[in-house]
């Protein structure tokens, strides 16, 4: 098996690397963006190859999808003359990079042989986690604090974006194809998102993946002007953005106050608590991501 797989891996790596180099080095920005989206897709294949289906999902939805839309939107909003690459290539920089590459690769290679990890510990703890999918267990139970803060990161990105007071995403004219497909795509994403969320407790999937999908759906709807521009004025929007992190925090406090400790779910409730948290987090993620992509609707405009 080794040889064929190795060749496959090698090809995968080469494609990835050449795409990456191309993204960096290609002359036109537009090409660069397109190549980057392609890179994201290849990357999600790589994840799958490396036995990380939930990451592949997340990468496809978040890395390639949403980031791609964001990049395109930014491209559309930028002056064309700014899209030129640096005119000269600095061999000094290349030399430095190559030297660094040798050093870095030499340092990374030994890692393959030192299988130190938390696998055993995590497996041991799975029983008490309330979920069966280990990634979800880590995300929402073992290292729930990271996830909580991540929601805050999203919130912060949204706040930061908001107060830049940019006009909302400029789309000159709704793309006819999008118009046509949007109505079907959006419910589909919602269904898939819901499924992913539900599945997250036992298999690949979970809040982020489903949130990303839902966000994609929302974006499509927004681009079709099916839903109005997202604005901070709407209480339900605020509520949905904040509910994930807010509820998570409340749970954290309650566990600290009433329970055994900070984020220490009571064993009997842990499954349902995690589900509620995931659900709310999904809403938050979806709305926030969509909002981040489509931009703030100014109250005045």
């Amino acid at each position: 098996m080794a040889a064929s797989e190795l060749i496959l891996d090698l090809i995968l790596c080469l494609v990835l690397l050449s795409l990456a180099v191309a993204v960096v080095e290609v002359k036109r920005l537009y090409d660069s963006i397109i190549l980057f989206i392609a890179f994201g897709l290849i990357l999600s294949i790589t994840w799958a190859r490396l036995g990380a289906p939930d990451l592949a999902l997340a990468e496809a939805a978040i890395g390639a999808g949403i980031t791609g839309v964001l990049l395109m939107a930014a491209y559309a909003n930028l002056a064309p003359k700014k899209h030129l690459q640096n005119s000269h290539r600095s061999w000094l920089a290349v030399g430095f990079s190559l030297a660094a590459m040798v050093w870095l690769v030499l340092s990374l290679i030994p890692l393959a042989d030192s299988p130190e990890s938390l696998v055993a510990v995590a497996e041991q703890a799975m029983a008490d986690s309330g979920v069966t999918h280990p990634v979800t267990a880590v995300l929402l139970n073992f290292r729930a604090w990271d996830t909580l803060l991540e929601l805050v990161v999203l919130l912060l990105a949204l706040l930061g974006m908001q107060q830049l007071r940019l006009p909302s995403l400029k789309i000159a004219y709704p793309w006819p194809l999008l118009n046509a497909w949007g109505r079907y795509l959006a419910p589909l994403t919602i269904v898939i998102g819901g499924y992913l969320l539900w599945r997250g407790s036992s298999g690949p999937g979970g809040a982020f993946q489903s949130g990303a999908l839902l966000a994609a759906g929302l974006i499509v709807l927004r681009l079709n002007h099916v839903i109005p521009g997202l604005s901070w004025q709407h209480a339900w929007l605020r509520c949905s953005v904040l509910c994930g992190a807010g509820f998570f925090l409340i749970i954290a406090c309650l566990t600290a106050w009433l329970g055994q400790g900070w984020l220490d779910y009571p064993a009997s409730y842990s499954a349902s608590l995690i589900f509620i948290i995931e659900f709310l987090a999904t809403i938050s993620i979806a709305v926030t991501l969509a909002w981040l992509v489509t931009g703030q609707q100014e109250a005045a405009s």
Binding site: L16, A20, A74, A112, V119
Partner: protein, 91 residues
């Protein structure tokens, strides 16, 4: 298997460096942001590869990658917005 892992690890490192190089050599903000994403991908690749070292994958690393992805996408979104805003002011 180890060879393959080593390959992916090296690729991760090189990806990271490629992104770094792109960030270094490009002056366009969007390209810089893309380069950052490539850097991030490199790190994630290393992480996912490391998760594969044992028979069962390491859920912790996967979870970290998920977290990292979300952080990356939010940061990218914000950065792109900021890039657009900063360019617009110049007009």
């Amino acid at each position: 298997m180890t060879l393959s892992l080593q390959l992916f690890l090296a690729s991760g490192g090189i990806l990271w460096l490629t992104g770094l190089y792109g960030l270094w050599r490009n002056s366009d903000p969007i390209r810089r942001i893309i380069s950052l994403n490539i850097m991030g991908s490199g790190v994630f690749l290393v992480m996912v590869t490391l998760a594969r070292r044992e028979t069962s994958t390491d859920p912790v690393l996967h979870a970290l990658v998920v977290t990292g992805l979300v952080v990356a996408v939010s940061a990218t979104a914000f950065a792109l917005r900021l890039a657009v805003a900063s360019q617009q002011e110049k007009r």
